[in-house]
C-alpha cells in the first residue's frame, strides 16, 4: 500500500496518544532524550527524532491535537516521517510495540461520529471526499461534510414539524377557540412538501452520476470497432481488437475522466444471434449493461450501406443514445452521418468526446433542481420512504380522513428522514405549538 513518496503521515488517535509519542520522540538524535510532549499545546507542530529503544529510526515532524479539538475528538498526533515503505514499516512496528494498533477502515471517522464531532451524514461524506476523483464529486462531498446537506434535512424536518403542529393543534386543542386549518390549506401545504422532497430525491440521479461516474456503454453489431473506440478513449490497448466478429465475449469496464466528469466506460460484446454458448452469455450481459447505461454510444461501420434504416436501440426514446459511424478511414468522404469518426486514425474523435461530455453535463443538470444534491443511496431511500408517507397523507386529506391518520403519516415521514441525521421527539412538536399559538383556557 505504501509506495515511495517525500513523506508519510501516520495518525495516532486515542487517550494514550501523547504518552505513547513521548516514549519514542526524542529531542536529540545522539541519544534518546524524551521530548516534553506533556507540555506541548494543542495544534502545534514539533520537530524531533524517533527512537526504538536506543535505536534512532527517523527524523520526523509531529503535529499535536488535544481532545476534543481534533478530527476524532480524541487526543491525536500526526507523525510525518520520510517516505518509503521500509521507514513506514519500521515506524509502524515501533508504534505497535508501544501499544498502538492499526485503525480499521473508516475508524477515525467512526470515532469522530461517536464523539459527536459530526453527524452520520457528515461521516458518510468523509468517505466520499476521499474517493472523489473529479472536481464536482469533491464539491458534493464537501457540501455534505460541511453540514450543508444536514442543514437541508433539518430544514425539511422543521417543515414536517410545523405541518404536524397544525394537525395536532386540532387534535389536542380543539377546545381552545383557535382558528383551525382548512382542508385546502393542508392540501396545498402537503403538495409543496411533496414537491420539495421529490426534487431532493431526484437530485440523487445527478448526485449518483457525479459521485459514481456516468455509465457510458459502447454498443453495436459485431466488428464495427467498438473496442477500438474503447481503447482510443483509454489511451491504451485494453481491449483485444481483431477483424474477427465476436472478439469481445464479455463486457469490459474502465474508469475514465473526460471534461472533468467521471465516466465508467463499458465495452460490450457485439449483439447478434449466435449459437456459441459463451458469446450468447456475453450478449446477455451486454444487454444488462445497456439497460444500466446513462449514455449509450451506438456504433456502426461506414462500410455498412443501410445505416439510415437500421438501429439497435429499437425503442430508445430516453434520449440517452449518441449515434456514431466508425471507420471513416476506410472510405474517406463516404459518410454523411452527423457524427463520423475513425478510432484507428483518431480523426474526429475530439468531436465525439465533446458530444459525450455535453450529453453528460445535460444529464447532471437535468435532475438537479435542488440547491442540495444527494449522493448517498441510503439517504435517497430514506427520502423516498418519506415521500411515500407524504403521498399517503395527501390521500388521507383528499378522502377526508382524520387528522390523527394524517399525522400518523407525517410522523412516519419524519421518522424516515430522521434516520439520516437523528431523531425527532414529540416534545419538538408540542414546543412548536406553544411558541406559535395562544393555547390555554
Amino acid at each position: 500500500m505504501v509506495g515511495e513518496s517525500g513523506i508519510t503521515v501516520i495518525r495516532l488517535s486515542g487517550k494514550d496518544t501523547f504518552s505513547l509519542v513521548s516514549n519514542c520522540l526524542s529531542k536529540s538524535y545522539n541519544e534518546f532524550l524524551p521530548a516534553d510532549v506533556d507540555h506541548y499545546t494543542s495544534h502545534t507542530t514539533h520537530h524531533g527524532y524517533l527512537f526504538s529503544g536506543a535505536d534512532f529510526i527517523d527524523e520526523v515532524v509531529v503535529t499535536f491535537f488535544k481532545a476534543p479539538n481534533s478530527y476524532t475528538g480524541e487526543d491525536v498526533a500526526e507523525i510525518s516521517t520520510h517516505g518509503g515503505s521500509y521507514i513506514y514499516r519500521k515506524v509502524s512496528d515501533l508504534l505497535m510495540k508501544l501499544g498502538a494498533f492499526h485503525a480499521e477502515p473508516g475508524e477515525f471517522s467512526k470515532r469522530a461520529y461517536l464523539n459527536g464531532k459530526m453527524d452520520l451524514a457528515q461521516a458518510e461524506a468523509v468517505a466520499d471526499l476521499i474517493k472523489a476523483k473529479t472536481d464536482q464529486a469533491n464539491k458534493l462531498a464537501l457540501q455534505q461534510l460541511t453540514g450543508k446537506f444536514s442543514g437541508k434535512i433539518k430544514e425539511l424536518r422543521e417543515d414536517l414539524i410545523n405541518y404536524c403542529s397544525l394537525l395536532e393543534l386540532e387534535l389536542d386543542f380543539s377546545e381552545e377557540g383557535i382558528d383551525l386549518v382548512e382542508k385546502d390549506v393542508l392540501l396545498e401545504k402537503v403538495n409543496k412538501l411533496i414537491a420539495k422532497f421529490q426534487s431532493l430525491t431526484q437530485s440523487y440521479e445527478s448526485g449518483k452520476i457525479i459521485k459514481n461516474g456516468v455509465n457510458l456503454a459502447i454498443i453495436g453489431r459485431p466488428n464495427v470497432g467498438k473496442s477500438s473506440i474503447f481503447n482510443y478513449f483509454l489511451d491504451e490497448n485494453r481491449a483485444i481488437v481483431s477483424d474477427i466478429p465476436g472478439t469481445t465475449r464479455d463486457y469490459l469496464e474502465e474508469p475514465l475522466i473526460m471534461g472533468g466528469i467521471q465516466f465508467n466506460l463499458v465495452d460490450t460484446a457485439g449483439i447478434r444471434e449466435t449459437k456459441d454458448v459463451i458469446e450468447k452469455e456475453g450478449v446477455r450481459r451486454s444487454k444488462v449493461k445497456i439497460e444500466e447505461a446513462d449514455i449509450v454510444l451506438e456504433v456502426d461501420d461506414v462500410t455498412n450501406s443501410n445505416i439510415a434504416v437500421e438501429t439497435f436501440s429499437e425503442t430508445d426514446n430516453s434520449g440517452k443514445t449518441i449515434k456514431v459511424v466508425n471507420k471513416i478511414d476506410l472510405m474517406p468522404g463516404k459518410s454523411n452521418a452527423a457524427l463520423a469518426v475513425s478510432a484507428k486514425s483518431g480523426e474526429k474523435m475530439d468531436v465525439l468526446e465533446r458530444e459525450i461530455v455535453t450529453k453528460a453535463k445535460e444529464l447532471i443538470s437535468k435532475n438537479n433542481q435542488s440547491d442540495v444534491i444527494i449522493t448517498n443511496e441510503r439517504h435517497r431511500d430514506c427520502l423516498l420512504k418519506s415521500c411515500e408517507y407524504l403521498v399517503n397523507a395527501r390521500e388521507q386529506i383528499e378522502r377526508g380522513g382524520g387528522n390523527e391518520l394524517i399525522s400518523f403519516e407525517i410522523r412516519a415521514a419524519m421518522d424516515s428522514i430522521s434516520e439520516i441525521i437523528g431523531k425527532t421527539a414529540n416534545v419538538d412538536i408540542l414546543n412548536n405549538i406553544f411558541t406559535k399559538f395562544c393555547i390555554g383556557k
Binding site: L171, G402, E404, L405, F408, A412, F434, C438, I439, G440
Partner: protein
C-alpha cells in the same frame, strides 16, 4: 389520635387525587394504610376547575378505571354534564370530559375512602420520615408529635411543599386558598439530599352565579347521551340533573385594564421564579404574548347543582384583586358580577423526576414513593394515574412481588410516567394525545381491553367484571372474523347501500369491505333483514359498545397493523437492557451532557436511554454499540 394503630404497612401523605388512588389500590391489595391529611374535609378536593377528563386526560381516567382505580367512579357519581370531545374526529382522539359538582365530588371521594376497612384517616401533618439502619423507610413523625411506623410512604402532597400564593404584591404561605403550606417535609427531603425545584400554577376567579347575565353568553349544553367513565357504573346514570356551561369572550377593554396591572404582576416583575404551564397560561400572559389576538374565550362553569359559585375558565390570573375585578366586569354577562374569590398563582416545590424510578419509588430512599404534583405534573387525572401506580408498586414491594410498569405502547399512563422520568419537566406536565406515539391503539374506548388484565391480576378488578370484558373481547374477535370471512352479493346488500347513498355492489364482496365504507354505520347495517337469522350478529347487535369496537377496529385496520409494527420495533429497543449498576462514566465517548443525564436518570434499557432529554442520538448509538458489544 391515641386510639389509632401505631403501625401501618403504608402511610399515604395527602388525600388529593393521587393520594386517594394510592390509598385505595394499596389497601385493596391487602395493605393497611394510614392516610395523613392536613384537612379531613379536603379529601378529593377539586382545587381548580370542577371537571374531570378532557383531551387525553379522559383516556387516563378510563385507564385508571380499567386498572381498578376510583377516579372514574367518583366522577360518574358527581357528574352534572358530559361531553365526548373531538366526536367529529377519529375515535383515537375522542375524549370524555365531565363537569362535576365540586362538593359532591369531594363527599363521594371521602365515602370511597371510608368504605375501605384497611384505610385509617389521620388529620395531621407529616414533618419527617424515619429510616432504619439500612436507610429503608420505617415510619413518620408528625407535627402533632406522633411517631407512626410503616414499611412504605407515598407522598402525594400536591402544591403544598413550600407553597406561596401570589396575588399582585400580596404573598401568602399556603398551597390552596385558606390552607397552610407544608414546610417541614420539604426541608426534611432537602436535608436527605433530594433536589427540589420551583413550579408555578394558577387558578381563575370564582364568581357568584346569580349575578351573571347568562342571556348575553352562548349556552354550551352537554351531550344528549352521557356515558359513564367507569365499568363499575351502571343503572342510575347520570344520577344528577344535567347543567350547561356558558361561553363569553374578553375584549379590548378587558385587555387594557389588565395591562395596567402588568407592573404589579408577580410573574412579570420576577417575584415568581417557578415556570408555569404554557398550555394553561394566565390571562395576562395570553395578552402579553399574543398581543394581536383581540379576544379570548372564557367558559363559565357552574360548580354544582346547588352551588352559587361559577368557575371562570380561561381567566387564570395573579394580578392584584382590584384589577382582576374591574377587568372581568367588562366581559359580556359579567357587568354586574360579584367576584367571590380572586384568581391567584401558587408557587411550590417539586422533586425533579430524575430522582425517581419508573415505579415512582425514589432512588434515594427505598420505600419512599412520590406521586402527583410533587413530580411536576398538573391536573387531577395525571395525579390520580401516578397515585395508582405508586400505590400498586408500594403494595407489590411490601409483598415481595415484581414491580408494575406500564409501557408507552400499552397505556397513556405509561407515556405519562415515561415522559416524566425521561424528559424531566421544566413546566408542569400535562398529558396530550400527541405525547402518545401509539395513540391509534391507545384509545379511551379500549382501555378495559388493554389494561383490565392487570387490574384483575392485582385483585383490583372483581372476577365478574373481568369475565364480562373477556366475553366482550371474544365477541369482538368473532365478529371481525365473521365479516372478514363472509361474502354477500348485490341482491342482499344493494337496497341498504342505496339507502345510505353508497355505491351499490356489482358483484359479491367481502362483508368487511362493506363495513369499512364511510357511509356505513354498523348498527344500521346489522339491522338489515339479511342478518336476521344470524345468531352471532344477533348477539353483537345487542351491544352498542361491541358494535363500536368492531367498527373502529375495522376502519382503522390498516393503521392498527402499521402501529403494531412500530410497537414491535419499540419493544425491541426496550428489551435491550442496561445492567442496573452500569457505569456510564466508563464510556468516554459520550457527550458530557449525555453522560450527566444518563447518570441522573439511570435508564434501564437502550430504548429508554434514547428518550432522555439531553441524550443525543449519537449518545444513544454509542451506548447501544457498547451494550450490544
Amino acid at each position: 389520635m391515641k386510639q389509632n394503630t401505631k403501625h401501618f404497612d403504608i402511610i399515604v401523605v395527602g388525600a388529593g387525587h393521587a393520594g386517594i388512588e394510592a390509598a385505595w389500590t394499596s389497601s385493596r391489595m391487602g395493605c393497611t394504610v394510614g392516610m395523613v391529611t392536613m384537612d379531613l374535609d379536603a379529601i378529593g378536593r377539586m382545587s381548580c376547575n370542577p371537571a374531570i377528563g378532557g383531551t387525553a386526560k379522559g383516556h387516563l381516567v378510563k385507564e385508571i378505571d380499567a386498572l381498578g382505580g376510583v377516579m372514574g367512579r367518583i366522577a360518574d357519581d358527581s357528574e352534572i354534564q358530559f361531553r365526548l370531545l373531538n366526536k367529529s374526529k377519529g375515535p383515537a382522539i375522542w375524549s370524555p370530559r365531565c363537569q362535576s359538582d365540586r362538593d359532591l365530588y369531594s363527599k363521594v371521594a371521602k365515602e370511597y375512602i371510608l368504605s375501605c376497612p384497611n384505610i385509617t384517616l389521620i388529620q395531621d401533618t407529616v414533618d419527617e420520615l424515619v429510616r432504619d439502619s439500612k436507610g429503608n423507610i420505617s415510619g413518620i413523625k408528625t407535627s402533632l408529635g406522633y411517631k407512626i411506623s410503616c414499611k412504605a410512604v407515598i407522598i402525594t402532597s400536591g402544591t403544598f411543599l413550600n407553597a406561596i400564593m401570589h396575588m399582585g404584591h400580596q404573598q401568602n404561605e399556603g398551597g390552596r386558598f385558606g390552607e397552610q403550606s407544608a414546610k417541614g417535609l420539604s426541608n426534611y427531603l432537602l436535608n436527605q439530599g433530594f433536589k427540589t425545584a420551583r413550579l408555578k400554577t394558577g387558578t381563575p376567579p370564582r364568581l357568584q352565579l346569580d349575578t351573571i347575565d347568562f342571556s348575553v353568553t352562548s349556552e354550551q349544553p352537554g351531550d344528549d347521551n352521557p356515558t359513564p367513565f367507569s365499568v363499575f357504573t351502571n343503572g342510575n346514570f347520570p344520577a344528577l340533573p344535567q347543567i350547561s356551561c356558558y361561553l363569553t369572550y374578553t375584549n379590548e377593554d378587558t385587555h387594557n385594564i389588565l395591562r395596567t396591572g402588568f407592573d404589579d404582576s408577580p410573574m412579570f416583575t420576577g417575584r415568581i421564579t417557578g415556570a408555569g404551564p404554557r398550555y394553561c397560561p394566565s390571562i395576562e400572559d395570553k395578552i402579553f404574548r399574543f398581543a394581536d389576538k383581540l379576544r379570548h374565550q372564557i367558559f363559565l362553569e357552574p360548580e354544582g347543582i346547588n352551588s352559587n359559585v361559577v368557575y371562570m375558565n380561561g381567566f387564570s390570573s395573579s394580578l392584584p384583586e382590584d384589577i382582576q375585578y374591574s377587568a372581568l366586569k367588562t366581559i359580556p354577562g359579567l357587568e354586574k358580577v360579584k367576584m367571590m374569590r380572586a384568581g391567584y398563582a401558587v408557587e411550590y416545590d417539586f422533586l425533579p423526576t430524575y430522582q425517581t424510578n419508573l415505579t415512582l419509588e425514589t432512588k434515594l430512599i427505598p420505600g419512599l414513593y412520590v406521586a402527583g404534583q410533587i413530580n411536576g405534573t398538573s391536573g387531577y387525572e395525571e395525579a390520580a394515574a401516578q397515585g395508582l401506580i405508586a400505590g400498586i408498586n408500594a403494595a407489590l414491594k411490601i409483598k415481595g412481588e415484581e414491580p408494575f410498569i406500564l409501557k408507552r405502547s400499552e397505556a397513556y399512563i405509561g407515556v405519562l410516567i415515561d415522559d416524566l422520568i425521561n424528559k424531566i419537566p421544566e413546566e408542569p406536565y400535562r398529558i396530550f394525545t400527541s405525547c402518545a406515539e401509539y395513540r391509534l391503539i391507545l384509545r379511551q374506548d379500549n382501555a378495559d381491553r388493554r389494561l383490565m388484565k392487570y387490574g384483575h391480576k392485582y385483585g383490583l378488578i372483581p372476577d365478574d367484571i373481568y369475565s364480562n370484558t373477556l366475553a366482550k373481547e371474544d365477541l369482538i374477535k368473532e365478529g371481525i372474523n365473521y365479516f372478514k370471512s363472509n361474502f354477500a352479493g348485490p341482491k342482499d346488500m344493494n337496497e341498504y347501500l342505496e339507502s345510505v347513498n353508497a355505491s351499490p355492489l356489482k358483484q359479491s364482496d367481502q362483508l368487511a369491505q362493506i363495513v369499512k365504507r364511510n357511509e356505513v354505520k354498523l348498527s344500521d347495517f346489522l339491522a338489515i333483514p339479511y342478518f336476521d337469522e344470524n345468531a352471532l350478529i344477533q348477539k353483537i347487535r345487542q351491544s352498542e359498545i361491541i358494535m363500536d369496537q368492531i367498527e373502529i377496529e375495522m376502519r382503522y385496520e390498516g393503521y392498527i397493523v402499521r402501529q403494531a409494527e412500530q410497537v414491535e420495533a419499540f419493544n425491541k429497543m426496550e428489551s435491550v437492557e442496561i445492567p442496573e449498576k452500569f457505569d456510564f462514566n466508563k464510556i468516554k465517548s459520550l457527550s458530557t451532557e449525555g453522560r450527566e443525564k444518563l447518570n441522573k436518570v439511570r435508564p434501564r434499557s437502550i430504548g429508554q436511554a434514547s428518550r432522555i432529554a439531553g441524550v443525543s442520538p449519537s449518545d444513544a448509538s454509542i451506548l447501544s454499540i457498547y451494550i450490544k458489544g
